[in-house]
């Protein structure tokens, strides 16, 4: 009897790239459902459009590069990029925003660098920053949560889709009547005008820690992050140091100026803190690769987020912070190699 002779190890690998990607998608489902319930179908419409653009772009560029598309299409990595980008987009944007974002993310940030595993920068964040810088008006069309005492205008699914593709809105409604500043916007503007945080957060859009509705999205994203930690899909180093890098300066500032500075809880449950800590900064390809490197990388992002939120122009800073630290990764990796066993 003849047998095949592959080399050791013979044991089967315990996980695969598509399984990891699917876990990331699965971990976002609870937050997506909550988001849809309180902010309408925008997230799902955006996800569908970004995903279509990302997959088509990926297939097209792979074809141009003369590479096989079968496995790349099935590894679900483009869908993860699409999911992250659609969480970053305002839920109320015309169709070309998600389409453009998905294409840019895949082309500029992923395929131009060589495809899966080669990107220096987080593709979803490159796509997001491109849109934010190019189309500031559309990129601030955020909606208020559909909650009892908040003044909001409700669009049906059909009316929403109609707006996305044609720009038409029901009579006597315009974009300004539908959209609302986010809690982070309000804090940014209020602080700039010299108002204390305690006064700013008296509005109906604010909840226990962050914005109403938003803080629950953040909670559920954090829950998804815990699932990723539990399944070993991500490791604790980056999320923990990210959140510490954000919370430590926020706590110090809050203790120095209790009523004036935004509370640590507000920083934690607002904007993209949770998404950034568990889903964006942990994107392995563009993150630091060593244990010490990841601690530096995570805390660097957290500190930058605090800096940009406090002194920057934009209300949030997760995307910029991640991209800046992405650029530092080769250097971090170079100087944080662990001491090899038996070497000095």
């Amino acid at each position: 009897m003849r047998f095949e002779q592959p080399t050791a190890p013979h044991a089967k690998p315990i996980v695969s790239v598509p399984v990891i990607m699917r876990r990331v998608l699965f971990a976002l489902v609870p937050a997506a459902l909550w988001h849809t319930w309180y902010f309408g179908a925008g997230l799902l419409v955006n996800f569908a459009l970004v995903a279509i653009a990302a997959l088509l772009t990926e297939a097209f560029v792979l074809r141009l590069r003369g590479l096989p598309t079968r496995h790349a299409m099935r590894d679900c990595s483009a869908l993860v990029t699409a999911a992250l980008l659609s969480f970053a987009l305002p839920p109320f944007v015309p169709f070309w925003i998600p389409l453009l974002g998905g294409s840019i993310a895949i082309t500029l940030a992923k395929q131009l660098y060589g495809g899966l595993g080669k990107n220096l920068f987080n593709p979803a964040m490159v796509g997001y920053v491109f849109l934010l810088l190019s189309f500031p008006v559309e990129m601030t069309q955020w909606l208020p949560p559909r909650m009892g005492d908040i003044d909001y205008q409700h669009l049906s699914f059909g009316e929403h889709v109609d707006y996305v593709f044609t720009g038409r809105l029901p009579a006597e409604l315009d974009v300004d009547a539908l959209t609302r500043a986010t809690p982070l916007d309000l804090v940014k503007e209020g602080r700039r005008a010299g108002r204390p945080f305690a006064e700013i957060r008296n509005g109906s859009l604010f909840g226990d820690f962050g914005g109403r509705g938003w803080e629950w999205v953040a909670n559920l994203i954090g829950l998804g992050g815990l699932y990723l930690l539990y399944t070993g899909t991500i490791r604790w180093h980056i999320p923990t140091t990210f959140l510490l890098g954000l919370l430590v300066p926020a706590t110090i500032a809050y203790l120095l100026d209790p009523g004036g500075a935004p509370s640590p809880g507000f920083h934690l449950f607002s904007g993209a803190s949770m998404l950034g800590a568990f889903f964006i900064a942990t994107e392995p390809v563009s993150a630091a690769g060593t244990v010490l490197g990841r601690l530096i990388y995570g805390s660097g992002i957290g500190l930058l987020v605090y800096t940009l939120r406090t002194w920057g122009i934009y209300p949030d800073g997760v995307a910029f912070s991640v991209l800046l630290m992405n650029a530092a990764v080769p250097l971090i990796n170079r100087y944080t190699r662990p001491r090899i066993y038996g070497q000095t």
Binding site: M1, H10, A11, V17, S77, L116, R339, Y341
Partner: protein
């Protein structure tokens, strides 16, 4: 009262499914003699033994058929049952680098299994150097898999600080040491103390993995009975590769063996429990190394079990002894599932290194060779016991960056296979590193001085 040694730190490693239950349900089956024995003369890295018998000559069990080469490392080979030498020829055997051709002494057994009289063998000498020579003449080698001649390992360049008797047996499927410890604990303890004497070591630690409570209990009982203050026990964590020599030293002493050096150069000698048992057999029964326990297991064999067989037993006979293959078998592995070699067929003999034969079913082994690109998740670095960065080594290997391979510590890769198992991209890292090591060796051979790292 037996002293326990408490574990220190171990870098990396991975908890793997043990797959040992199937082969530990029944006691070791003993007393089998095949009709044909194929005694390989090159069973390890080093020099082949030199035959001292002729074709047609009758030999008895325990009779030397080949003596160790003059140059170390080498070990003598003995007839493992009685019979007639039918051929001295090249045959495929499993050596240190896979299946290779080796001179072999082929014996047709007569079934009488009669030994050379014990009184013909020299008694156990009193002098330590002579004891080492007796161990060399008995053909005793490391039975954990590396088959390094024991006598050479016992001649340490510095006084031995601690003898570590390795009963960790961390690799999946293999259970021969576990079963031997359960059934022959007293002999193993006696052999461990003999080795301690030969080394004049102040301490001897018998290290057993936590998932072997029965073996631990048996060894503890035997150790309590001898009441020797040099003897200590250590329960090591169930993590692969805790039983690797350098890993075990790190785990038990907290010290690291410097890169490119051997534990023996720093006063630590590791010997497998099977080796200790063989040394005891030599002392107590004047019996050279003629048999060993082999685990025969896997989803492709009908009755998995441990068998003690004469060295040289064809693996085909071993499989037949265990009920033969079932219809699920797709691969035959000599050794464990992490570091074992896939055999082309079962027409190779059991050597002193053969601790396990796995007849694997398709659902037990990797059968798909698709690789995704590395996504730099870094899990390989987390499990690497040498604290290497396999993801960076992969890039260096792909681009044949010799400076990178050297500075990233390719030579410190112990080829344990942990990185392959955790890699979500299913990249065959260990094989890449084996190939890169050969390429690097050729490169360094051409250019002896490595170019300095750019500053």
């Amino acid at each position: 009262m037996v002293d326990y040694v408490f574990e220190r730190h171990l870098s990396g490693g991975i908890l793997l499914p043990a797959n040992k239950a199937a082969s530990t349900a029944t006691p070791i089956r003993r007393g089998f003699v095949p009709t044909k024995l194929v005694l390989a003369l090159r069973q390890h890295r080093g020099h082949p033994a030199e035959p001292i018998v002729t074709v047609g000559q009758r030999v008895r069990k325990g009779q030397m058929v080949a003596h160790a080469a003059a140059m170390a490392p080498s070990a003598a080979v003995h007839a493992s049952s009685s019979g007639v030498v039918r051929a001295i020829e090249e045959r495929p055997v499993l050596g240190g680098n896979g299946v290779q051709s080796s001179p072999c002494v082929v014996i047709e057994t007569d079934g009488r299994d009669d030994s050379i009289a014990a009184d013909q063998a020299p008694p156990w000498p009193a002098d330590r150097a002579a004891q080492r020579e007796a161990i060399r003449a008995a053909g005793i080698v490391g039975l954990g898999g590396a088959v390094y001649p024991t006598a050479d390992k016992l001649a340490t360049p510095v006084p031995c600080k601690t003898l570590i008797v390795n009963g960790a047996e961390c690799e999946p499927y293999i259970s021969c040491d576990d079963m031997l410890m359960r059934e022959n604990a007293a002999e193993i303890v006696a052999g461990a103390l003999l080795l301690t004497d030969v080394l004049a070591a102040p301490h001897c630690i018998i290290a057993i993995e936590r998932d072997k409570p029965q073996a631990m209990e048996a060894i503890e009982t035997a150790a309590q009975r001898v009441e020797d203050s040099r003897l200590k026990l250590a329960e090591v964590p169930t993590i692969y590769p805790a039983g690797g020599e350098k890993q075990l030293v790190e785990l038990l002493t907290g010290e690291e063996v410097p890169s490119g050096r051997y534990p023996g150069e720093f006063g630590y000698v590791c010997q497998n429990v099977g080796t200790a048992y063989a040394v005891h057999r030599l002392r107590a029964a004047q019996e050279p190394l003629v048999a060993r326990v082999v685990t025969v297991t896997g989803g492709g064999v009908r009755s998995p079990q441990n068998v003690e067989v004469p060295i040289g037993t064809p693996i085909a006979d071993l499989i037949a002894l265990c009920g033969g293959y079932n219809e699920n078998v797709v691969r035959l592995i000599a050794g464990g599932s992490m570091m074992g070699y896939a055999l082309p067929d079962d027409d190779v003999p059991v050597t002193k290194a053969t601790n396990c034969v796995i007849a694997a079913a398709a659902n037990e082994v990797r059968t798909d060779d698709h690789e995704w690109p590395c996504i730099r998740c870094g899990d390989c670095a987390l499990v690497c016991p040498s604290r290497l960065l396999p993801q960076d080594l992969l890039v260096a290997a792909t681009t044949t960056d010799f400076v990178g391979l050297t500075t990233l510590g390719l030579q410190d890769c112990i080829e344990c296979g942990c990185c392959d198992v955790v890699c979500p991209s299913h990249i065959m890292l260990t094989e890449r590193f084996r190939v890169a090591k050969r390429t690097l060796a050729q490169h360094d051979g051409r250019r002896p001085r490595a170019s300095p790292e750019p500053k």
